[in-house]
Amino acid sequence: MMKSALVIHGWIPERGAMIHSRIHVTLRPSILDPQGKAVSHAIGTLGIAGVSTVRMGKYVEVTFEGNDVAAARAATEEICRKLLANPVMEDYRFEVENEG
């Protein structure tokens, strides 16, 4: 019933036109990471040896509508630069994936 109703209204939902940006924001190497240090100590108390350093960061997923990968890439770059990462202390990298 629903299906035919949609057709009557001339609206066919487009499926799958989405682009995912997977973004990693990490502390710059020159920045001390007390949080990472605390986690590193905790790993030691777990009884796991051989860990030299732990660095904490953020992982962000941004989903875009449509299938313009170049535009999504440019937008992701701007989002990272202006919002997600503070260039004084953080670096970022991302990959853009078209889920066609």
Binding site: S30, I31, L32, P34, Q35, A38, L83, N86, V88, M89
Partner: protein, 251 residues
């Protein structure tokens, strides 16, 4: 020129929690005019001085102060600052000012990973700013801090510039005024507790002068910071060069 009263604008973000403290100091202790400025406002309501108060604006999401800088009122604050208006950011307000690019550097997680809430000693390293005229150069103040992310960091070159320009206004010190690692509550680079921009009209500091202004609270060293602002705004006397006020520790 003499203003009858000075109007303080206290910006309120969702999550601000020192806004009323700042408002009370301006209104009740200083006897001046004060208004709250909601973060969605596009006007500063003719404020002579803008205070960005402490708190946890936008829940400290993403980074402390990172979201607040995009609010409409911050566009007005940035324009006001560019025009020479006095802006003071306290605690979260300091974090917002660095995120907004109105002050250099960044405030990282405390090196202890602990939220630190206690009184600290501050040395006045520049008593020739619009915010510190009532203090003596090198004077030691007792002011409370309350933060988890107050670990000031900036690249080495910028730190040298800040120091050369007299932009480091307050440093954490011991009771004698000595700037030591032991007196540093959060790991801040060079014990920096407060800085001004190159023009000297924007101050950011982690300690809370508004919590040390009412005699009822036991400490009043913060009061003179607000008195200094009043002096400055009422007389419009601009220090010839605030770099002259730089306090250099005697070796």
């Amino acid at each position: 020129m003499k203003n009858a009263t000075v109007r303080f604008g206290v910006v309120v973000f969702p999550g601000s929690n020192c806004d009323h403290d700042a408002y009370q100091v301006c209104k009740k202790i200083l006897g001046q005019d004060a208004v709250f400025l909601w973060h969605k406002e596009h006007s500063l309501q003719a404020a002579d001085v803008v205070i960005l108060p402490g708190g946890f604006s936008y829940g400290d999401y993403l980074r402390c102060g990172a979201i607040a800088r995009f609010s409409p009122v911050m566009q007005e604050v940035a324009a006001f600052a560019a025009d020479g208006g006095l802006v003071i950011g306290i605690c979260n307000g300091f974090q917002i000012l660095v995120e907004a690019g109105l002050l250099p550097g960044v405030l990282l997680r405390n090196d202890s990973l602990r939220f630190v809430c206690r009184h600290v000693h501050l040395r006045v390293d520049n008593a020739f700013t619009p915010f510190t005229g009532e203090y003596a150069p090198g004077e030691v103040l007792t002011i409370p801090i309350a933060h988890g992310d107050g670990n000031y960091f900036v690249d080495e070159r910028t730190l040298r510039e800040l120091e050369a320009n007299g932009q480091v206004v307050f440093r954490y010190c011991d009771a004698t005024g000595a700037v030591t690692p032991e007196a540093n509550p959060n790991g801040s680079l060079a014990n920096v507790a407060g800085i001004v921009n190159a023009e000297g009209n924007v101050l950011g500091m982690m300690p809370h002068p508004e919590r040390a202004s009412d005699p009822l609270l036991g400490y009043t060293d913060g009061r003179r910071l607000f008195d200094s602002i009043l002096d400055h705004v009422m007389s419009r006397v601009v220090p010839t060069s605030f770099a002259e006020g730089t306090f250099v520790q005697q070796k």
